[in-house]
């Protein structure tokens, strides 16, 4: 029997959620009918991609162009003269896509040579001049529409790749929370650290297959240093969990700007990040780098799972993460376990950073911060304190982020994951695999 208050509170919560959802949906659906700009991001950014969409000499207005690359997304519509301009934050490669559904009936992007099966999607590169022009050949003809299923599959594969990479970062964050109660905002910077170290060592001439393991080892060392120099002394002092969280915020700020100090505000690339895409099946095409990334993620996660389940330290880690005082009472050296957790978490985060550098692609001083909230979402969704939960949550978040761009504007694709995070915390704060505890 549900008591009156349970019913009332459920109604209240449901009502609030409906209101929130309605407001959100209204915001999304009402406004896009307002005209979009023919110029986007021009004042903000220094570099330009522009173009003109015409059928023979007739200008086509309100055609939707999407520009993606280097972690940046933008959408723009052509003006009455068929012109469009997009400002982009850095030089490098971008993908320009013309949405053929916004062309008039019977009109499509055509490829005279017949070799390109998706002539409405083009790669451009901004060179030293700082700007580039991209014009599509428009003519009467068949649309090159990728079937919905093909698009979906492509996003799923991308999402899987992204999710595995998030998983490497999320597992560490979840275990740190489980064993010490700390929501570590500086985890983002540990991700960036791995990428930066890989960049540094490949920059001094080491081959990438050597630079990456060195970067991971250094990340592990960094984690060791932080626990030994900062977190353990604070725990000994008996500093409260909220205070520790604010300390991690300060650390995150400091480290972020230290990275900016050394690599500046731009984007650097790791060697091999421009490997060409190989068509696999349907409309799925991955580069060698992508495939190696996914393989590394799977192997490392598998090894970690084996370690967690079968070794003594792994089991001790699960025990401490579940109930630190009980574990201590059973004779487990909690400090030792926590130290190991920090080392492993940092190593995984560093590796995740390297893979993120290949996925974005590009290394920036704030690249870790860009995904921190997604990692939090993944950890919370899976269950704070559980390693496997973090993995499950990451896969869900990764796939959600990629697949949601089929329906919502590309520059809002992280919003989906964030909304999921909020909703989970409201209705099932222990996540998918976590255990029920008093959250309120």
């Amino acid at each position: 029997m549900i008591t009156a208050e349970q019913r009332q509170s459920r109604r209240r919560r449901g009502g609030a959620l409906v209101a929130f959802g309605l407001a959100f949906a209204a915001a999304l659906t009402l406004f896009p009918s307002a005209a979009m700009a023919d110029e986007v991001g021009i004042e903000e950014n220094d570099f330009r991609i522009s173009g003109n969409v015409k059928l023979n000499s007739e200008a086509l207005a309100d055609v939707l162009i999407t520009v993606e690359g280097n972690g940046y997304d933008a959408e723009v519509e052509t003006d009455d003269e068929g012109r469009w301009r997009v400002g982009v934050p850095e030089k490098g490669e971008y993908t320009v896509t013309l949405d053929e559904s916004t062309l008039p009936e019977g009109i499509a992007v055509v490829d005279e040579t017949g070799a390109d099966s998706t002539p409405n999607v083009k790669e451009v590169e901004i060179g030293p001049s700082g700007s580039t022009v991209m014009n599509f050949f428009i003519g009467r003809g068949e649309r090159n529409t990728t079937s919905f299923v093909d698009q979906l599959v492509e996003r799923l594969v991308n999402g899987l790749n992204f999710g595995l990479m998030l998983g490497l970062a999320a597992i560490g964050l979840s275990l740190v929370f489980g064993t010490t109660g700390l929501s570590n905002f500086a985890h983002a910077e540990m991700v960036t650290f791995g990428a930066v170290m890989a960049l540094a060592f490949s920059g001094i001439g080491l081959p990438i297959w050597l630079a990456i393991p060195i970067a991971v080892i250094l990340s592990a060392g960094f984690g060791f240093a932080m626990d030994a120099g900062l977190w353990r002394p604070l725990r000994r002092k008996g500093v409260g969990v909220v205070q520790l969280m604010i300390v991690s915020i300060g650390l995150s700020l400091a480290l972020r700007y230290v990275f900016q100090f050394f690599i500046g505000g731009g984007t650097e690339q790791l060697p091999g990040s421009d490997a060409p895409d190989i068509k696999l099946f349907g409309s799925v095409s991955l580069s060698v780098t992508d495939m190696v990334s996914m393989a590394i993620s799977v192997v490392v996660i598998g090894a970690f799972a084996w370690w967690l389940l079968n070794t003594r330290i792994g089991k001790a880690t699960r025990a401490v993460s579940d109930n630190p005082s009980l574990a201590a009472a059973s004779g487990i050296d909690v400090d030792h376990v926590v130290r190991i957790v920090w080392i492993v978490a940092s190593a995984l985060a560093g590796l995740s950073g390297i893979l993120w550098a290949y996925f974005r692609p590009g290394i920036r001083w704030d690249m870790g911060a860009q995904i921190l909230l997604l990692v939090f979402a993944a950890v919370t969704l899976g269950g704070l304190g559980t390693a496997f939960g973090a993995l499950v949550g990451s896969l869900v978040v990764g796939i959600l982020v990629e697949v949601s761009s089929l329906w919502i504007p590309a520059d809002l694709k992280y919003v989906g994951a964030l909304v999921v995070l909020i909703v989970i915390l409201l209705f099932r704060p222990q996540g998918i695999l976590g255990k029920r505890e008093r959250i309120g």
């Binding site: 929130f20 986007v40 500093v239 604010i246 300060g250 900016q260 100090f261 809002l412």
Partner: protein, 326 residues
């Protein structure tokens, strides 16, 4: 190295609109975190809502400037309700994560090209000053002395900002000495005890969220008054900076936020003038001038860490009164 210019810029920042804006936002955060114990990590969203609410109501709907202020206040109250009703029953660090996520959602919504005609997306908003300037009673001219010399618009912005700040401080001071404030402080420490005494703890927390949120939004308005609304400002780092200013001054005091913000901006301005000069005159080797600017943000992060570890009550606070300190 022009020491006089550096000191003059630094002194001028004491009265700067950015300082006043931070003071308002920090005051709002003091109500949330210092007095009520709500770990609100989304104060940047309130500032964004204030700034955009103000600018959009002027630019798109043609309101006068004081209408824009009222819209900013109402928008923040609505946001507090949407945010607070589902989430205020969450424990400390969970609330922090939810509020950061909500703030990011707000920022992305302001940034997306989907609403560009209202928000200007990545370009932001500007050109909404006419009505504000028209209401300026100060005749044209430059006034002041020493480092504090501004034209009539500069003074008008500062006067309005300081007036809003003064009223806000008065409200917080009066409320925290009242029985309402007593209940809030009780909730900060132990919600169950207060509930067992017949107080609706949830309702009080919501009221505190709304009150602090209004001050945060007003901070955003003051920030936008002089120049423009730039979406790149309202990022999570802004929340962290406001926390630093708040903790520096004293989280659970009325004047702590003000003092903390003034000190924060004075030090920031000093460093942003001094460090490049030191680099140029060769005193600080191994770095460029732009790197020296980055250095001062590193110092903010380090300062926050040291503050929380060694003096969490800040300058004006009382350590015995803080609940997040064990």
């Amino acid at each position: 190295m022009d020491l006089l210019q550096i000191l003059s810029n630094t002194a001028s920042s004491v009265l700067g609109p950015a300082t006043i804006a931070y003071a308002l936002a920090a005051l709002g955060l003091a109500v949330h975190f210092g007095f009520t114990g709500l770990l609100n990590m989304g104060i940047a969203a309130y500032m964004a809502i204030g700034a955009y609410g103000y600018a959009i109501s002027i630019l798109t709907f043609g309101f006068p400037w004081w209408g824009g202020v009222i819209v900013a206040i109402l928008a923040s109250i609505v946001f507090s309700l949407i945010l607070g009703i589902p989430t205020l029953r969450l424990r400390g660090d969970y609330l922090a994560i939810v509020t950061i996520a909500a703030a990011e959602v707000i920022r992305l919504l302001f940034l997306t090209t989907a609403f560009d005609s209202f928000t200007g997306s990545a370009d932001g908003l500007s050109g909404y000053h006419e009505s504000f300037r028209a209401s300026n009673p100060i005749p044209d001219g430059t006034y002041g002395f020493g480092p504090w010399v501004y034209n009539e618009t500069g003074w008008w912005v500062r006067i309005v900002g300081i007036l809003i700040l003064a009223i806000a401080c008065l409200i917080v001071w009066a409320l925290m000495r009242s029985p309402w404030g007593r209940v809030i402080k009780g909730i900060r420490e132990d919600e169950d005890a207060v509930r067992a005494l017949g107080k609706n703890a949830f309702s009080y927390k919501l009221q505190a969220l709304m009150l602090g949120g209004v001050f945060g939004a007003l901070g955003g308005v003051v920030y936008a008054l002089p120049a423009s609304v730039n979406p790149g400002v309202y990022v999570t780092s802004l929340t962290f900076f406001v926390y630093t200013a708040l903790l520096l001054g004293g989280a659970a005091t009325v004047f702590g936020p003000v003092i903390g913000s003034v000190l924060f901006w004075v030090i920031q301005t000093l460093l942003s003038n001094l460090l490049p000069a030191l680099v140029q005159s060769g005193i600080l080797p191994f770095m460029s001038t732009s790197q020296s600017q980055t250095l001062r943000f590193v110092l903010v992060g380090v300062a926050l860490m040291l503050l929380v570890i060694f003096r969490p009550q800040g300058i004006l606070g009382d350590k015995k009164e803080l609940t997040f300190v064990k």
